[in-house]
Subunit: 434 residues, 2 copies
Amino acid sequence: IEEQNNQELLSHLGDMHHADIAEILDQLTLDEATYVIKLLDSEKTAEILMEIDQDDRERVLENLTPKEIADEIEEMDTDDATDIISNLSVELKDEVFKNLKDREHAQHIVELMRYDEDSAGGLMAKELIKVNENWSVTGCMEEMRAQAENVTRVHAIYVVDNKGKLKGRLSLKDLITAPSNANIADVYIENVDYVDVHTSAEEVARVMQKYDLEAIPVVDEIGRLVGRITVDDIIDFIRDEADKDYQMAAGISEDVDADDSIWELTRARLPWLVLALFGGFIAVTVAGQFESAMVNYGFLFFFMPLIAAMAGNVGVQSSAIIVQSIAKGTLTGSVWKRLLKEVGLNVLNGIILSIILFLGAHFILGRDYIVAFTVSTALISVIIIASLIGTFVPIMLNRYKIDPALATGPFITTSNDIFGLLIFFTIAKYMLGF
Amino acid sequence: IEEQNNQELLSHLGDMHHADIAEILDQLTLDEATYVIKLLDSEKTAEILMEIDQDDRERVLENLTPKEIADEIEEMDTDDATDIISNLSVELKDEVFKNLKDREHAQHIVELMRYDEDSAGGLMAKELIKVNENWSVTGCMEEMRAQAENVTRVHAIYVVDNKGKLKGRLSLKDLITAPSNANIADVYIENVDYVDVHTSAEEVARVMQKYDLEAIPVVDEIGRLVGRITVDDIIDFIRDEADKDYQMAAGISEDVDADDSIWELTRARLPWLVLALFGGFIAVTVAGQFESAMVNYGFLFFFMPLIAAMAGNVGVQSSAIIVQSIAKGTLTGSVWKRLLKEVGLNVLNGIILSIILFLGAHFILGRDYIVAFTVSTALISVIIIASLIGTFVPIMLNRYKIDPALATGPFITTSNDIFGLLIFFTIAKYMLGF
């Protein structure tokens, strides 16, 4: 199809949904994708651009002229347009702004660029339907028809006073079922959830999920309605956060996908492996300190991977639960109570596992009582310490505003390995004497 | 407040949002929570019940009479009502059904109970607004006002033919902006995304996200409109899936929260630790096979935790990427190509890490060239094998319809530990000869 057969290509793509076209473009080469984007009209390509992978998007945009980019921007909602423009180089930004014909649209974008990307201001769009509380229902319907032109989907109609302050909301349903001679002031619902432009994205997601909202209005410092955030932005945010935490737990930084280049994947993964390797060096040194055990109790070294693995697993279990609770905002109560509970839980698990280890070491591996007992005692100590570290570290990271998910990755596994081995050999040294 | 001061409590809770009340109830004891639920009217409590934690909900319901449960059910949307009833015991189910006054509601619930929980049929609600293509816009408005009573939020109006088959959709916006003398057939949009009752929940989530839908109609085997799924159900589903994958990676089965009881948390975590412990036993045995190395090359054992940790980390990195791609539905192309890429990537990482290890072992730990070279060679081999296992296992699990996230947990870490040690000692044995 790629043989410059424009007519056929156009009629083919014309009927397709923009998300489907985006999927096809992801399979094409950069030149082919750019060619298709240039061919289609900007109304359609603006939506396609928002669907394709961010890296691909940046590359396609590099091949477009400032004029062409401006055409795309004109067709986008203000929030998407702001995302695109923010990622352009400084000179390109200026060029694109010069080419924007819709001055109001341009002004909105400039306003949105002021806000932090992870705040309500950075997530919101300027497109919304607002009505004045003093209007009549009939007048309101007229006005809304005009405003609705700019808004892709109507979630709610926001009611403001003469100063632009948010007073309440109206659903289309309410408007349809209201008597046509009523005033807006008589029918609107005063109780409306809203967020401030400076509210963090996490908090916006939490509020919208808690109250099952499909859109939430955003107000400025003095309560004036300045934008709205829709649920699809929040879904993307939730998904990205979950992905980030998951990848962090697996020792992968940055947001990468199986389809990314080897170079991108390496950059995201190698640093964690280097960290783990240095942790491994320390573990080697720790083990080396107890070399004297090798003469009489050499088989103690056989247990090292077991001890390290148990310490790692317990630590990750403990921190994963805490990280999730922090992400969901359900972590309440004192740190000490939480630590106590985690210790209680792991004493329980530790006793069961130590008994299994004792029986296994004595009856299956044929070690004598004292050795089996030593290894089991070390195991339960390691489990308790690992769970304490696993609980404490994410809580502390969160307190100092560092992403607690960091604690579930190779970082905690590696430190638990080292502490685990140190505890193991120290206990063995005192109990067996070497 | 809990001192039976009903009047004050009622006026206090009366103004609050149901999600806020649910948050308070989560902090109370079971008896207190049940007391509050019984006090408030069923319209409010039905919503509260849907917000509180599932375990708490089941316990509260046990304290209610079938009549009281039926009152709650009457107030719920069909999808929520079905979830609640499905979790009741068989006898209680019958009792509750006998107490349902709204026969249509009851019939809808029975219909929904037929579907698998993780299919579109299991997610959908019967509440929706549908209009016949032969109606006029004015008649349609009338009809809609009546239907809208039952529907909490109107996302779209679905258009059906005389046989009930889905023909298209209409947004409220279209309806408002349409000339009032038009017929529905003239104004509706034919192009409508829909899913089948048997479509899997994952697929529904994928489609709704891809096309940014807020609601999607569900049709039966012969194309008749039978329900709709709204975006908030999908958000819950996405969140649950991400949580499940994350917990699975951390070695926690079942969906638990930091606030669950010690017993619940133990049940979710202990089995994985037992698994890891048995893996540890095998590792001990593997190391024991190479006991002869202890005489001349005892320090090789010091490297065991390092090798095991690297094998575990690399394996988890590889499988996490695959698991995420599977979850997002972006895993395309052949398995062999994917394995080749992963190997390429890990050869690159492996070379860099082996060089660091070689330099570290020789210059810092002071081992001679041949030993440092042996350990480095073992490391790169272990990394490549671990990445192959990490890539291959989730793809295979998925092919056999087992949750691929299983592969990111202690399961893969443990097997990689064992394989890693086996490879390490085998290579060392051949290179150093012991």
